[in-house]
């Protein structure tokens, strides 16, 4: 009998504890929640930086949920967060995989929480089906791949005539797919440039290093290496250095990691596109807050404003110094007054 009583005590305690903050939060401040992959990636870590700054400015609590590239953990953490805040929250989410948005949308719909999604969404899922899903925003990945490819082609001995190899990201990611499509678009426009071979390095520096080294052995006479992000570009640069080609055969990336700017300045890298995840977090959270407070009428938004794209900041050898001063050495003040000021096109 005693054992039974003890075994009932813990769940009872847990129940009480879980309900208490609920009561507190439901009456109190809205929690700002960012869902990211992990703090080990500078890009994702900056989501948290932006969110925390916004939280400080508005005097609201901030929670950071990291999925560690595990979709199940993502869902579990979100459920726990909903329980903790009682639904009194707004979310800016960068989901682990595109299909994850559906369970997330349902959970947040049921909890009555407004949210904004970044990057990954299956094309057939409609944002308009979920009244609390304010927007799906992605960077123009195609545009990114295209811009970097064009910059790379310009550096060939004969501009727009040459051979390249490509290092792709995780093949199931929207970003990877989009950027590679951008590359292909640039290739189509420049028939003088030939893509010899590509490998997937899954956004990882070491893998990109290995892949580039192997590809260089197969194709010793390439003129450029197109990489889908900066992490991989770093690995590629190292492989080029060992082959004695760094500075002669250039590399592109995307994301805007600090070391990328150094590489551009040093002449190993051509260009990258900076995605300011601090801006993304603040933007997403502000938009969701506006919806929650009634300042933004989600139902009346046309579909092109429910799922859309924004540009990143293009950085190359010409503007890198200015850019570093403005964006890296400090966090710029973001103008979040007109949400659709940077609208760059509808996304599927």
């Amino acid at each position: 009998m005693r054992r039974f009583a003890w075994s009932m005590l813990l769940p009872a305690l847990g129940l009480i504890l879980s309900v208490t903050p609920r009561l507190a939060d439901a009456a109190g401040k809205t929690t700002l929640v960012v869902m990211i992959r992990g703090l080990d990636n500078p890009y994702h870590a900056n989501y948290a930086v932006g969110a925390k700054e916004l939280g400080k400015k508005l005097g609201l609590p901030v929670d950071v949920l990291t999925s560690e590239a595990n979709s199940q953990k993502q869902f579990a953490d979100l459920k726990a967060e909903i329980a903790k805040t009682g639904g009194n929250m707004v979310v800016s989410c960068d989901p682990n995989e595109a299909p994850d948005v559906v369970p997330i949308a349902k959970m947040l719909e049921a909890a009555g929480a407004y949210w904004v999604n970044w990057w990954n969404k299956p094309p057939d899922v409609k944002v308009a089906s979920y009244p609390h899903w304010v927007s799906h925003v992605q960077f123009d990945a195609v545009g990114q791949g295209y811009y970097n490819a064009k910059e790379l082609f310009k550096t060939f001995k004969t501009p727009n005539q040459g051979k390249i190899i490509a290092i792709q990201g995780m093949l199931a990611n929207n970003a990877a797919i989009g950027r590679f499509q951008g590359l292909q678009k640039a290739l189509k426009e420049n028939p003088g440039v030939q893509l010899l071979q590509w490998e997937s390095a899954e956004w990882d520096t070491t893998k990109a290093y290995n892949a580039t080294k192997a590809l260089l052995a197969a194709h010793p006479d390439v003129d450029g290496v197109w990489c889908a992000n900066d992490n991989m570009a770093m690995g590629a640069i190292q492989a080029l250095k060992e082959a004695g080609l760094a500075g002669k055969v250039l590399v592109t990336g995307t994301d805007g990691n600090p070391e990328a700017f150094d590489a551009i300045k040093a002449g190993y890298m051509v260009s990258t596109e900076f995605q300011d995840s601090r801006y993304q977090a603040q933007f997403g959270l502000t938009m969701a807050l506006a919806a929650k407070e009634g300042k933004l009428d989600v139902k009346s938004l046309p579909s092109k404003y429910r799922s859309w794209m924004i540009p990143g900041v293009k950085v190359n050898r010409d503007n890198v110094d200015k850019f570093v001063d403005e964006y890296i050495k400090s966090m710029p003040k973001y103008d979040l007054s007109n949400f659709f000021a940077n609208w760059a096109g509808e996304a599927p």
Partner: protein, 343 residues
Amino acid sequence: MTTATAGPGRLTPFRERLPGPVLATGAWFQRTGIAAQLLTLAIVVGIFAMGTGGKYLAWSNVQVILSLSAIPAIFAVGLHPTIVAGGIDLSLQGVASLIAVFVGFLLRNQFNSHDLGLWIILVAMLIGAIAGAVNGLLNAALRIPSFIASLGMGWILYGLAVFMGKAVNVPLLDTRIGNFASANVVGIPLIAVVAAGFTAAVQLVEDRTRLGRYMYAIGGDEVIARQAGINLGVMKVALFTAAGIIYGLASLLLTCRLGISTSRMGLTLLFPTVTAVAVGGVALTGGIGGAKNAALGALIVTALNDGLVLMHVSPYIQQAVNGVVLIVAVALTIDRRKLGFIK
């Protein structure tokens, strides 16, 4: 090889006639069994040489294979003692990431004023040793299965690495070790020579010292080894610590060669290392395999993947090929008698 028909303890008549040293070498080969691995390597090379019209055998490509297989080989040499002794050390992801972060912190870089120089070698070995010792104690003193203990430690260390590294990638300004790792000596990648020498040294310890001998004894039958008076606890801690030190060195080399310290560095290392060890002929059930097996396995895996790239095999298929190779390698090397039940 069985002697049931030839009388107790005697070989078949053919083998009897071979001279002593040949028999001894043969037995040595048999125990560490690299004959099969050399054959596999020959087959792999042959297939790709034909498939790429000889491009595979170009010296530049051979250099790439040697260069890319060296560090995985050292990792594999680090992993295999714990496997031979009947356990496994899965913490290398965490150790590698942690070392990477320390290297980024302590070697000359643009974010702080530390400039440890070549002392970083000792630091890497020390961190690896401590991590390994903790693994060993968890296994030996607390009797936690090494699979779980080391995997858990790996994640703890990885989390520590991420926490310390704060997601910043640190380019390394002190490039001495990096240059060492990329240099060539008479055309052969220096790092491959280092890896080969290191493998030979470890193999020597395994063959001719008590540490090595007892490692095989424990892997063969732990109960009997204990009855014979071997101190299991001391041995296990020693082996895990050795593994940690080796991981430390390999991680240091890898970080320096990449020229940049990333806290994610370890994540992609575990699978290829386990595959390398299994392909090399180190049985996951223990008691069989030496350093040269592990290193040779890494060489074979690297040669295989390089060949796949050279032959333009779709990257989608490459990962699957690696998975198949792992399964086949394990299936061929494990001693099913030791598995009471397959879990």
